[in-house]
């Protein structure tokens, strides 16, 4: 999957979910690179901001858009990667910053 295709996926996801993509092109570029690595490494669009297990089934909650994006966007105005934003955060602009991890720790430890 090319970075162009991944960008289309991001844009389609944002449109479908009623979110906005971050206006920070640097962040988008970083994440495009990360997604491309994960597609080559795992074969699927795993969240680039979290450790993957290599198992699509175990990582299904962190396939983009992850299961935590809706509550994170509701609570913080952005997803964990700072890729998808709500309208208010989009209009505020500014440099993206990290938010707390919502994924349960045991998910990272599953065999």
């Amino acid at each position: 999957m090319t970075e162009e295709k991944i960008r289309q996926f991001m844009e389609n996801t944002a449109r479908t979910k009623g979110w906005r993509l971050t206006p920070d092109e640097e962040q988008i570029g970083y994440l495009l690179e990360g997604f491309a690595v994960n597609v080559n490494r795992y074969g699927y669009l795993q969240c680039p901001c979290r450790e993957g297990s290599g198992s699509r089934d175990r990582d299904k909650d962190i396939l983009c858009p992850c299961d935590y994006a809706d509550p994170d966007i509701a609570a913080y105005g952005q997803c964990y990667c700072g890729l998808y934003l709500n309208e208010e955060t989009f209009l505020q602009g500014g440099a993206p910053g990290s938010i707390p991890e919502r994924r349960p720790e045991e998910k990272f430890r599953e065999d």
Partner: protein, 104 residues
Amino acid sequence: MFDYLDFEEVPGKDTGKDLKLLALSTCGFCKRAKAFLKEFGLAYKVIDVDGLDKSIRLRIREDFSSLKGKAVTYPTLMIGEDDYLTGFIRPLWMNTLGLEEQDD
């Protein structure tokens, strides 16, 4: 802490503190953290955890949670033996590291 990891040393200004950055090669905020440390020219050590064997990654998780009482997330910057920053929030990193914005 994490003496068993093979960190890459990035030369730069000595802060007087041992800075160790635990990162994912794919993560946007990890890349921002690396760019931040480069911007200020700080000496630090770095490792991309996603390139390590699962057993080592689990050991990092167990060691961090047992010593710090919380789950490790990336990026994490270890500052000496006791302090650390998790996630990348520029103003917080500046304050914690005692840095000031530089003129262009």
